[in-house]
């Protein structure tokens, strides 16, 4: 179980996150949505340790991980898919998947992982450079997180930059996860696939509830405006 206690993140006096507290039960699929600038990605990065909260506490299965490094959190079972995939000169897709697996990886196993995200095995030897499209890099990014098969998987806008066909596949993948998952998203289909949704507004939790209830409220809000 993941628990955030009174997390705040302040930059130049501006409160990006303001006293956020929440609990995520093991096996839950939680979507976090909200307007741009509401603090969604910052919250995800704070859980992974990429950003350090100004105040507050993070507990994973009851253990305080607030001061742990990114590496230590990864070793404790948190995985993170970046919104903007990172390029590496000289590292191939296979290299990255092997690093993600934390062990020697068979080419056939790597090929299966790629197939899950709709890429053929030829991609394994490709360099993670600008020669790959944004959509391809994004699918590889998702594959690295699936490779880790971590207890807690965080996906920061996984839909960004991928085509419709891949998006449908992505929804299937995320819906089929048995791991605890946090997905930052604006996409209704992804939000529908979640068990719960949190609506963040101006760095605070404005709503939390079952996916269908929150979506109904959001829909109502749209109709009212």
């Amino acid at each position: 179980m993941l628990e955030l206690r009174n997390i705040s993140y302040v930059v130049d006096g501006l409160k990006i996150l303001d006293d956020v507290s929440l609990k995520i039960e093991t096996g839950n699929f939680l979507a976090i949505t909200g307007p741009n600038g509401s603090g969604k990605s910052t919250l995800a990065q704070i859980i992974m340790g990429i950003k350090k909260p100004t105040s507050g506490q993070i507990l994973l299965n009851g253990e305080d991980i607030t001061e742990l490094s990114i590496t230590d959190r990864a070793k404790k079972g948190i995985a993170f898919a970046f919104q903007q995939p990172v390029k590496f000169k000289g590292l191939t897709v296979f290299d990255l998947l092997e690093i993600a697996s934390g062990a020697k990886l068979k080419k056939s196993s790597a090929a299966e992982l790629l197939e899950k995200v709709g890429l053929n095995p030829e991609y394994l030897e490709r360099e993670l450079s600008s020669a790959l499209s944004g959509g391809e890099l994004k699918r590889i990014e998702i594959a690295t997180v699936l490779t880790r098969n971590a207890d807690l998987m965080i996906f920061d806008e996984p839909e960004a930059g991928i085509d419709l066909w891949s998006f449908e596949k992505l929804v299937d993948i995320l819906s089929g996860l048995s791991n605890t998952a946090i997905v930052i998203s604006h996409q209704e289909k992804l939000l529908q696939a979640a068990n719960e949704i949190i609506l963040l507004k101006k760095g605070k939790i404005a709503e939390r509830g079952k996916a269908k209830d929150i979506l109904r409220k959001l829909e109502g809000g749209k109709n009212e405006s």
């Binding site: 990172v86 590496f88 000169k89 993600a100 934390g102 690295t144």
Partner: protein, 307 residues
């Protein structure tokens, strides 16, 4: 072949594995040949005027290789070696060279290797060269390779030149002249650390119509090492030339890139790209999210970059 453990280690690093190769070879240790063989198609002969070899590869020789690694384990040894490769027409061969210096003494050990390749019409060569140094002595480990390539019509040369760790000073000079339809591809990898200095210079003369070159140099400069990359591509006819110098700079190192393009014909298409920068923070962060420590992530990025 009677070799010390250190010399075997050097040959292992240069050639990937230590064994007497099939076909033609010459193993050089501390200024002397310690093992040599010619094959039916490749003759390896000592020069009589200077130190070095003349290597004659018969026309139409295919899928053969010649190995000429060099090991220096004696402190203070200084040598200049001239190896000339005469490659007949329509051949396709691989040449494995390189030098390792072990220096545990106070005096500088220096190897200046001058390799000249005369590549016949429609022939193809793949040249693999690895340089490195080790040993805790105060004496320098200095390597100054000169590579000259003369490509006849339709000839192709692929050069894979790598300097891994431990070379205190190097001046690398690569020159080529290409005739009609000839192609030259270069992949250079250079790593400097400590107080090391490295200069890499290229002068490629695209003299023939439809000649092509693609130079790809990647380097890492660590600690307070210094690197200079100078390249000049001359386009005399309708031709295509591209060079890319890509460097990662770390700590207190410095890297200077001085590319030059010299077009002497309106149909010459010449491009140069140069990029120098530190390891991107997001690359380190991404690998750390996959469970690597900062140091492990840095090492993966460096090794990948130089691969």
């Amino acid at each position: 072949m009677n070799l010390s453990k250190i010399e075997k280690q050097i040959f292992c690093t240069v050639a990937g594995d230590f064994k007497i190769p099939d076909g033609a070879y010459n193993f050089r240790v501390n200024g002397k040949s310690v093992g040599r063989s010619s094959s039916d198609n490749i003759d390896v002969i000592s020069k009589t005027d200077v130190s070095g070899l003349d290597i004659f590869i018969k026309p139409n020789t295919k899928n053969e290789a010649v190995h000429i690694p060099v090991a220096i384990s004696k402190t203070g040894l200084k040598e200049a070696v001239y190896n000339d490769f005469h490659i007949g027409d329509n051949a396709d061969v691989t040449i494995v060279a390189g030098c390792g210096i072990y220096n545990c003494g106070e005096l500088d050990s220096i190897h200046d290797g001058i390799h000249r390749f005369y590549v016949g019409k429609n022939s193809k060569i793949k040249y693999i060269e690895k340089h490195f140094g080790f040993g805790a002595g105060a004496g320098g480990k200095i390597l100054n390779p000169v590579t000259e390539v003369f490509l006849e019509e339709g000839a192709v040369a692929e050069l894979y030149m790598e300097q891994i760790k431990g070379v205190d000073s190097t001046k690398r000079q690569t020159r080529a002249k290409l005739k009609k339809d000839a192609k030259l591809f270069v992949n250079e990898r250079l790593f400097t650390h400590g107080r090391q200095t490295a200069i890499s210079e290229y002068k490629i003369d695209l003299a023939g119509e439809n000649s092509t070159t693609d130079i790809n140099s990647r380097s890492i400069a660590q600690d307070i090492s210094r690197q200079t990359f100078r390249s000049k591509i001359i386009g005399r006819k309708k031709c295509r030339g591209h060079s890319a110098c890509d460097a990662i700079i770390m700590d207190g190192a410095s890297v200077l890139a001085l590319p030059a393009l010299d077009a002497k014909c309106v149909d010459a298409e010449l491009i140069h790209e140069a990029a120098i920068g530190k390891i991107a923070g997001e690359e380190l962060t991404k690998l750390m999210t996959l469970g690597l420590t900062y140091a492990e992530a840095e090492s993966k990025i460096i090794n990948g970059f130089l691969k």
